[in-house]
Symmetry: C2
Subunit: 212 residues, 2 copies
């Protein structure tokens, strides 16, 4: 199984943490964080390997690196990926309007690596990690479903729209577990100490229930 | 500054922990542990980068790797080491009688890497890490002092002999901080909750005082 590198480029906010945790559920022990500050190492070590150096400077074998970049000309294919391939996802949230930041922070600094895209939509960090995993497992990009700007109903009066694409598997949105709960809390819908289980969230997304 | 990789091959006993901590004092953020189990990641992340994969399988750039191996033909020299060289120390304690375990566990599994020795004596993990750092900083092997099988007086009736070599700098033994305290505790000389400071230890080794 190949490696997934998340180049860590932001503070570990609650939102970032949930995305990283979701990526680790898919990549397990093959997840590596790069560009990690000493004081962040222990926290991120809960989820994967942690390397202080940036992926752009660390002495990886560059012939094994594939950087995912919206601006790449070729799409990522299963046959690009070997057992020790390193797939790099830029850890940048909130880039709903593509601004070429992966190219700015990563691709332009790494000679000799492959660059591939995973389609036109803008995915979150965990979304891109999941799409990469599905392709590493043998699926082709055109077989992978996703929903752009999904809208999540919170109650009969309100909804949240996520301004990026979320991958789907067997018709189900693979939304970041805990993210809607976090948003509800931040919007004042939920008390801070109310926990919503992943099961409840899945049923919520399937339209089977409303959240308390 | 180059990287030091410690291939983690033992449980994290108190002794191993003290050696790792000492190595991290010398290598700071350039220390990387490889072959780390998921449940050990957080603990070792206190001291450096942590990678789950073994150094023998991880996709490092092998042209940048130097494995320290007693059985190497060439000695490690400052001119071998670039800014992104990866120096690998096998994390094996207690090999007082050389048994070629570095070759068995590391060198034989890594094609395309450089192999170098740091002299005939058998160093501990931290000792080898320090010798490598001194050479990376420009010293030549023949300039580095060490003491083989140093004997440490505990009180007027007893002493501890360490069956390996300990490097010296400016005439001072660079002994693992806390190690004598640990040994005294295990031998029943010290209560578990008595702490001995590094300063006391240094003075002890300089013969200026006895430990309480």
């Amino acid at each position: 199984m190949p490696y997934l590198v998340i180049e860590h480029l932001e503070e570990i906010s609650n939102w970032v943490w949930l995305e990283y945790r979701h990526a680790s559920e898919w990549w397990k022990n093959k997840l590596i964080f790069t560009n990690v500050l000493p004081e962040e190492r222990e926290k991120l070590a809960k989820l994967g390997s942690v390397i202080g150096e940036s992926v752009t400077r660390f002495p990886f074998d560059r012939s094994k690196i594939i950087v995912l970049d919206l601006q790449a000309e070729e799409e990522l294919k299963p046959e690009d990926i070997d057992d020790d391939t390193i797939i790099v996802v830029g850890g940048i949230l909130g880039d709903a309007v593509p601004r070429g930041r992966t190219k700015e922070f990563i691709t332009s600094k790494m000679k000799g690596v492959k660059v591939r895209h995973i389609g036109k939509p803008q995915f979150s960090i965990d979304g891109a990690s999941i799409v990469a995993k599905l392709i590493a497992d043998g699926r082709r990009l055109e077989e992978i479903e996703y929903e752009e700007n999904p809208t999540i109903k919170l109650d009969e009066f309100s909804e949240i729209t996520l301004h990026y694409a979320v991958p789907k598997l067997d018709g189900k949105l693979l939304l970041t577990p805990g993210l809607i709960e976090l948003q509800k809390r931040e919007l004042g819908y939920t008390e801070a100490d109310e926990e919503i289980s992943d099961e409840e969230l899945i049923e919520f997304f399937e339209g089977k229930r409303e959240l308390a």
